[in-house]
């Protein structure tokens, strides 16, 4: 089996040490870093994504595979030139003010990181000022807001209005999620998108950030 095949298989199995070993072996064989990335790591994660969607993998397997991918990527980064060395982009996430629900947002974060995005997690009970400050500082491609309560979901509009007032609304895509939220609500508050679960949140981010 070729080294890249072994690398891909190791990644699909979530074997962190083997991914490191085969990534190094591929480099030693003179395979370009970009090829290792595309045909080894990215190709492997694509299979992981399919297995997750088809119910063969659960979240723990996906996160383990993502960890393996990052272990390989760390070896490639110094050798990747220009855009290839960059992550897929920065995303800022937070649960809105008055709401302490965390785990759904954390799962979205983990899935986005698995897809190659850098994620800034502002935590829970995040107020407008903190969202605005983070958007200005990190210049994310996407701002994601989560709410699990009917009494906190409307705060998402407060944040979107504040982005408008600050003149930075057109600099960032805004997505929303959480049990009481739906597509209609997202549209009504001026968000760019809504995702009902973590997997679809990743697809939505990819769609919104596609050049």
């Amino acid at each position: 089996m070729r080294t890249l095949d072994k690398l891909r298989e190791a990644l699909i199995e979530g074997k962190v040490e083997e991914v490191k070993r085969y990534t190094q072996q591929a480099l030693d064989e003179g395979i370009p870093a970009k090829t290792i990335l595309d045909q080894g790591l990215v190709a492997g994660m694509n299979v992981v994504g399919i297995r997750f969607r088809e119910g063969e993998y659960f979240l723990p397997e996906v996160l383990l595979c993502a960890k393996a991918m990052h272990a390989g990527l760390d070896l490639l980064k110094p050798l990747l030139a220009g855009e290839s060395a960059q992550n897929a982009g920065t995303i800022v996430l937070g649960t809105v003010k008055g709401d302490l629900h965390d785990i759904g947002k954390r799962i979205v974060k983990a899935m986005l990181e698995g897809a190659g995005y850098e994620v800034i997690d502002l935590g829970v009970d995040v107020d407008t000022e903190k969202f605005i400050e983070s958007v200005k500082k990190h210049k994310p491609l996407v701002l994601g807001m989560s709410a699990l309560l009917t009494t906190t979901m409307r705060y998402m509009k407060t944040v979107i209005d504040a982005l408008q007032e600050e003149g930075i609304r057109d600099k960032v895509k805004v997505i929303v999620g959480g049990a009481p939220v739906n597509e209609e609500f997202a549209k009504s508050i001026g968000a760019d998108g809504y995702a009902p679960n973590a997997g679809e949140a990743v697809d939505l981010v990819k769609h919104l950030t596609a050049v």
Binding site: G55, E56, F58, L59, G98, D102, I103, R106, T151
Partner: protein
């Protein structure tokens, strides 16, 4: 008080409507004394809880309570419990939560006087300590605010005090995401029980001071989170089933330090605690589908004493708004169970409810009263150590699932079966003593929890 003996002598003895130790609130309404009583919970529609909206929120609360009570009158229901489950702001601002408690109690009392409806108000205070991670469970200002909230609500008319406490959640959230069984044991077998012991001594003390009932606590943030993740295909159902039983020793602590029930609805581990301690329990199932789906619709009712809808947001339907609509649904659920009791056919109905669900999902299987009773025995036989109890009951859950799979009672997908094997192996190699376990895992979770906040070093 550590419980060393079982309240029940067999699973067959356990049935809906009857608890070994019935509980009575101030107005004489009794739980677990031969009747299942509906417990209604509601939440607000989209609106914000800012100070300037308090008058509108109060009116809305009173209106909802009036509609619930009116529906009780219409369908001739004489007993009902309303649960007021705080949103975070209502605990964060104790006067606000207490005012709403007072408003609800006034409506309840009005209907008691005008129509003779015996009602009770359960107030569930929010655990606001989880705002910052790692949380300060004992030393932060949040615990003082929470206890103040309990106190003011008890004074304002609460009949029953409850909470879904979060000790250990800072570990379990991540442990669930990565399927870390040891992390879950650390959260539910080490941190959770310590926090429960600390917190519930305080709650019981407040309840006694105000002569109200210290109800109980649920592992909602742990086991129900697992159930929901499994429902979304993010976690194996077998793991959620094991976590359910693993959570029971932790929830039992409230009763060990003075809670008397009725335990709160979303604790599907409640039948285990009922088997051990004889306390009445509230449960939720098919009529809580408004809040979340579950594979436990009928089986959850098998040994309940109160029957709840979990929570429903106040929106208009054709026959009225959701709180009164779900009140009516709960009433008819309860009426059927109570008729079965009256006509001495309760065991038949109980068994039908169990049989309808138990082999369709691993999480339903572990809710079978026979499994719950045996799990209770395993906990009692494991001694007083909470870690040992959690390990023993988790192993028991594994064995039940394994046996059911081997005999073809339940069918597990290949990936579920692999997870069950994995869970079994992890449980098998655990150290016997908590001290050794803690020494093994402490560095792994360092920085994610504050040992001193749990009385650990």
């Amino acid at each position: 008080m550590k419980i060393r003996e079982m309240a029940y002598t067999s699973a067959q003895e356990m049935i809906f409507g009857f608890a070994k130790k019935p509980v009575t609130v101030a107005n004489g309404l009794t739980f677990g004394n031969g009747k299942v009583i509906p417990e209604v919970n509601f939440t607000l529609p989209p609106m914000d809880l800012a100070h300037e909206n308090v008058p509108e929120i109060r009116e809305r609360f009173k209106d909802i309570a009036n509609r619930i009570m009116e529906r009780c009158v219409e369908v001739q229901q004489e007993e009902v419990v309303i649960e007021f489950e705080h949103l975070f702001d209502m605990t964060e601002r104790p006067d606000f939560g207490a005012q709403l408690t007072k408003d609800l109690k006034e409506v309840i009392e009005t209907y008691c006087q005008s129509h003779g409806i015996k009602s009770a108000l359960r107030v569930t205070v929010a655990d606001i300590r989880d705002r910052v991670r790692p949380p300060r469970m004992r030393s932060g200002k949040e615990i003082k605010t929470m206890l103040r909230s309990f106190e003011l609500c008890a004074d304002a008319g609460a009949d029953i005090l409850s909470i879904e406490s979060t000790g250990g959640k800072e570990i379990s959230d991540n442990a669930l995401m990565i399927g870390d069984v040891e992390g879950l044991l650390f959260a539910l077998g080490v941190l959770g029980p310590r926090d429960m012991d600390f917190l519930w001594k305080e709650i019981v003390s407040i309840a006694r001071r105000y002569d109200v009932v210290p109800g109980g606590d649920t592992a909602c943030g742990f086991a129900n989170t697992a159930m929901q993740l499994a429902h979304q295909g993010l976690l194996p159902k077998v793991l959620a089933a094991v976590v359910r039983l693993m959570s029971a020793p932790r929830s039992l602590v409230a009763v060990e330090v003075g809670a008397v029930g009725p335990l709160k609805d979303c604790g599907y581990e409640n039948p285990i605690i009922k088997a051990i301690a004889g306390v009445p329990i509230s449960m939720e199932g098919k009529t809580s589908a408004c809040a979340h789906s579950s594979p436990l619709g009928n089986i959850a009712a098998a040994v309940c004493d109160l029957w709840s809808n979990e929570s429903v947001q106040d929106v208009k339907l054709l026959s009225g708004n959701t709180p009164e609509v779900f009140t009516e649904m709960l009433i008819y659920d309860c009426r059927l169970m109570n008729t079965a009791i009256k006509e001495k056919r309760a065991e038949i109905l109980r068994d039908l409810m169990v049989h309808s669900d138990r082999f369709l999902d691993p999480q339903a299987l572990v809710l079978d009263p026979k499994v719950m009773y045996e799990a209770a025995c395993v906990i009692v036989n494991a001694g007083e150590d909470k870690f040992k109890q959690a390990v023993a009951v988790s192993r028991y859950a594994y064995e039940v699932l394994k046996e059911a799979e081997a005999t073809g009672k339940i069918r597990l997908r290949g990936v579920e079966a692999k997870w069950l094997e994995k869970i079994g192996k992890i449980l098998e190699r655990l150290p016997k003593e908590e001290e050794e376990f803690y020494a093994n895992v402490k560095s792994r979770y360092e920085g994610h929890f504050i040992p001193e906040e749990y009385g650990l070093n």
